[in-house]
């Protein structure tokens, strides 16, 4: 190969690298390596002066290749490749050697770390001469955005994007948008009513011409790549012509099947088979439940709904529709599900009456809920005493290890609502630690103390119905150690509220696989970087917002939704986007036309060209996995940026020391 002049730049990263790796030694060593013309060390290579070093060496010292030994390329490769470009070097002639995440941070012994740093760096030094200039592929960007999930996060993101004139597809699985927030009564700590602040946004989203609402729909398949996603959406049959339906709910009143547990009311009330989940639903359209409707389940029915429907909107023949949509960016806002307390058998949820989950209490305390906002036990009487048990399923190695962040606050909110409705009722909060981290939260906690709620520092041991004393007769008994007193107490109460944690949706994993990004070990969607890219995923063009990423309160969710919208906008507002040129190519001369690669390509990016009797790569479709390269017996397909000889050279370099 021609004489190359390699510049090596080794970053101290303060003491992050230099604290463990002997940077001077590595620099000295690097200077002696083949083709290395210059080896420098610098405190912070990512700083402007650091980047200038590279630019200068290119301009003044004729550097033709460069390697930066510093942090992970996922962190700063773009930074340094840009610097190289600014210096007049093709960006792909610069490589990074990850001696921080993969070396200094994970190794204790300094000598060992220094040796490893040399190997990691050596691999890149050996590879560089074989690097060839590449041009990023510029592809057009589809300006439309898809938002998946119609809770407060999805609604907010969709509205923000629509306001910039972008077309937004808002996909919601349920018949109406609104998500969990629509089920809440009040919101902490300000206690403004959830409906009052949410419904305006819901109807705004419904009216917004730039938002195409796809309620009662689910994403089934995602193809393509940043700027050019092809999404299949299944629009489930409502058996209602939504153009004709006026949302008058006459079909609901007419329907003979009336005993379906209402999802929206957590099963505390019943709905008909033809239903509108709640009065403020958007879109305000009826849905016929195919699993309960007599006609749709093949039973006899006089179909009074049809008779009741003026505009003749009911259509039992309606079928699921499959839409194919093209968008440039996707925002995931699929939310959470409440951790089901049933497995925590010692709290007798589902076994004893009046042991209820937090979402059930949200509905009970809600003016539009099953009890009209009257806080009552199953027998219709107001509870004289209520225990609120914190950390149900949370901070527990047997269930969910993490803290769900919102439970302490919503539990305080419950206590307040109870005191507001029933001032005479005794309220006990059994907590491990009171976590009131947000704006105005600690003040709210103080306020509740003043409302003489009983705070017991201790995680409830069990909820029992066995009465050991007259005052326990017919009561639920909460057994808990008051750890501040060191005394175990038995609290006889009429109602127990289980403050369950927030859990990832049961199908979060499957969803993440459809869209092609990962989940964290706790099951929530994995962000690209926990601090600097909390709303991005590893897949360019796909963003996340709200509780699908991690439990968070409404303010944080709304803020994140805005951030995700901005991220998507920053992408789709451009005519084109540059994608990595590290894709495969096939030399028709060498190819024997054996078809192996054609069948193996995950993206059908290789097709067989009959007249050339050779396979050929469709560049637009190739995503650069390199499967074809590895599969070909004669090594004909090659992958730019990952040529065999480049990988071989890295191997050699990694083993010279």
């Amino acid at each position: 190969m021609a004489e190359e002049k390699i510049g090596v730049y080794i970053c101290h990263c303060g003491t992050n690298i230099a604290g463990t790796v002997d940077v001077e030694e590595v620099t000295r060593w690097a200077a002696e390596q083949p083709n290395v013309a210059i080896a420098r060390e610098y405190k912070y290579m990512c700083s402007d002066p650091g980047q200038d070093l590279i630019k200068q060496d290119i301009k003044e010292n004729g550097i033709t290749r460069a390697v930066v030994a510093a942090c992970s390329p996922t962190m700063h490769e773009p930074t340094f490749r840009k610097a190289a470009g600014d210096g007049g070097l093709n960006p792909y002639l610069l490589q990074m050697a990850n001696i921080r995440e993969h070396c200094s941070w994970v190794t204790i012994d300094h000598d060992a770390a220094t040796e490893k740093a040399k190997r990691i760096l050596g691999a890149q030094i050996h590879r560089l001469p074989l690097n060839v200039p590449l041009q990023p592929i510029e592809v057009p960007v589809n300006p439309n955005v898809m938002v998946v999930g119609g809770g407060i996060a999805g609604i907010e993101a969709a509205l923000k994007l629509a306001a910039t004139g972008k077309k937004v597809y808002l996909v919601e699985r349920d018949p109406s948008i609104g998500g969990h927030m629509a089920m809440f009564d009040k919101t902490f700590p300000t206690l403004d009513c959830a409906a009052c602040i949410l419904t305006p946004k819901m109807s705004a989203a419904g009216k917004e011409p730039n938002i195409e609402m796809l309620a009662y729909s689910e994403v089934t398949q995602v193809d393509g790549y940043v700027g050019n996603f092809k999404v299949k959406v299944k629009k489930k049959a409502r058996f209602i012509d939504t153009d004709k339906c006026t949302g008058c709910a006459l079909c609901t009143e007419a329907c003979v099947v009336r005993k379906v547990p209402s999802e929206f009311d957590m099963g505390l009330s019943k709905r008909a088979a033809a239903y509108i989940p709640f009065p403020q639903a958007v879109p305000l359209r009826a849905t016929i439940d195919p699993t309960r409707c007599l006609t749709l389940t093949g039973k006899k029915c006089k179909q009074p709904c049809v008779a009741a429907c003026g505009p003749e909107a009911i259509d039992f023949e309606q079928k699921d529709e499959e839409l194919e949509l093209e968008v440039g960016a996707i925002i995931m806002a699929t939310g959470f599900q409440l951790w089901d307390p049933t497995p925590e058998t010692r709290y007798s949820y589902g076994k004893l009456d009046n042991v209820i989950s937090s979402l059930e209490f949200e509905r009970i305390s809600n003016a539009s809920g099953p009890t009209g906002g009257h806080i009552v036990c199953k027998n219709g009487e107001a509870p004289k005493s209520v225990a609120i048990l914190h950390c149900v399923g949370s901070r527990d190695d047997n269930h969910q290890e993490f803290c769900s962040r919102v439970c302490c606050m919503y539990s305080l909110k419950f206590a307040h609502l109870i005191k507001e409705h029933l001032p005479e009722t005794e309220v006990y909060e059994c907590y491990i630690d009171m976590r009131t981290y947000g704006k105005g939260y600690e003040e709210f906690y103080k306020r509740l103390m003043n409302e003489s709620v009983h705070f017991i520092r201790g995680r409830a041991a069990e909820v029992s119905a066995v009465a050991l004393s007259p005052e326990e007769q017919g009561e639920l008994v909460v057994k808990v150690e008051d750890t501040l007193l060191g005394i175990t107490r038995r609290l006889p109460v009429d109602m127990v509220i289980l403050s369950s944690g927030l859990a990832p949706r049961a199908d979060a994993k499957a969803t993440s696989q459809i869209f092609g990004f990962g989940c964290s070990s706790n099951g929530f969607f994995l962000e690209r970087h926990p601090k600097l890219e909390p709303v991005s995923t590893v897949t360019d063009g796909i963003f996340i917002a709200g509780c699908c990423q991690y439990p968070k309160d409404i303010p944080d969710t709304v803020a994140q939704a805005g951030a995700a919208a901005a991220g998507a906008l920053a992408l789709v507002d451009n005519a084109t986007v540059k994608v990595e040129p590290t894709i495969s190519y096939i030399d028709p001369e060498k190819c024997s036309g054996c078809h192996i690669c054609v069948g193996l390509c995950p993206h059908a990016a290789i097709q067989y060209n009959a007249e050339k009797d050779a396979a050929e790569v469709i560049e637009a479709a190739c995503k650069g996995c390199g499967v074809c390269v590895a599969a070909c017996g004669s090594g004909v397909p090659q992958q730019r940026g990952y040529l065999d000889e480049q990988i071989f050279a890295e191997i050699e370099g990694a083993l010279v020391v």
């Binding site: 058998t345 010692r346 007798s348 076994k351 119905a465 066995v466 009465a467 050991l468």
Partner: protein, 291 residues
């Protein structure tokens, strides 16, 4: 069907009826029980308090004998024995140092144990090996209308949880439902503690726990409490008069070994089941179920 059988020390004294009824019940089911040769005390909780390895080693001696007798399973009827023996297995598997030490000790008496003998609770065998169908087929006296409160006690599935849920066991519920009884499946105290050995050392503490259990049984309108452990049975049944004396209560709740009630359903004669050995008479139970 044939099982190696570890009766446990209580079976020779206060829990004699448990042993007798176990053999009778198994006979009715056509299952042969071969008593483990020259078995020794499992060590119970006391041994753990002296030297942990001692307790593992002497428990392992029994398992070693089972291995020598060429069997890979041993049937245990006492919750405490069950937990001690099963725990020995688990800890030997989890910690090679324990495995070494135990085998070193057994080596000193010319024995060895490979840790492969499965320790089985008799309830587990009844429901999961013999199976509810097979059992129900042989029921000749259904327990129709009898309100049975299955009392599992502590060490039935805690902490092992190998055949039933650690928090909420249900195996006995299913057994007696299959036998036609009106089982109190939501019996809230079913896994609470009876006080165990404490009955001798801190009677007040143990009596209080028994009082709570009997109170629960009454609240749930139980005709009979069934136990799967001689200690539980002894405390709840034998000491019932003392509970009454201490708390001024008038409990007279029959407490039976589950093998006695199951044996009854399988057509065994009360005598065969040593029901006359109970301190609290079982006659109400006999009266309650159609002959």
């Amino acid at each position: 069907m044939k099982y190696l059988y570890f009766p446990g020390c209580s079976a020779e004294a206060t829990g004699k009826a448990y042993d007798i009824s176990t053999r009778a019940m198994m006979e009715k089911l056509g299952v042969e029980l071969v008593e483990l040769d020259d078995w020794n005390c499992c060590g119970a909780t006391s041994y753990f308090s002296v030297r942990e390895l001692d307790s593992f080693a002497i428990a392992a001696r029994n398992l070693a004998i089972a291995q020598e007798m060429g069997d890979d399973e041993v049937c245990v009827i006492c919750n405490a024995c069950y937990t001690t023996l099963a725990k020995t297995n688990r800890y030997m598997a989890e910690d090679p140092r324990i495995f070494e030490a135990v085998n070193g000790a057994l080596g000193a008496v010319g024995r060895s144990y490979d840790g492969k003998v499965k320790v089985r609770h008799i309830v587990d065998i009844l429901v999961n090996d013999i199976g509810l169908e097979a059992v129900t087929e042989r029921v000749s006296r259904r327990l129709t209308g009898l309100r049975v409160a299955p009392y599992y006690g502590c060490q039935f599935s805690r902490p092992m949880g190998s055949f039933d849920d650690v928090q909420l066991p249900t195996t006995m519920d299913r057994l007696f439902e299959a036998m036609g009884a009106d089982v109190i499946t939501d019996f809230d105290a079913k896994t609470d503690c009876c006080g165990g050995m404490m009955m001798l050392t801190r009677e007040d503490a143990a009596l209080r726990l028994c009082h709570e259990l009997l109170t629960a049984a009454r609240q749930y309108k139980a005709d009979v409490l069934v136990a799967a452990c001689p200690l539980c049975e002894m405390n709840l049944e034998g000491y019932q008069p003392r509970v009454n004396k201490t708390y001024g209560t008038d409990f007279n709740i029959p407490v039976m070994y589950f093998t006695q009630l199951a044996g009854l359903a399988l057509g065994a004669d009360p005598k065969q089941l040593a029901m006359e050995k109970q301190v609290v008479s079982c006659d109400p139970v006999l009266a309650a179920i159609p002959a």
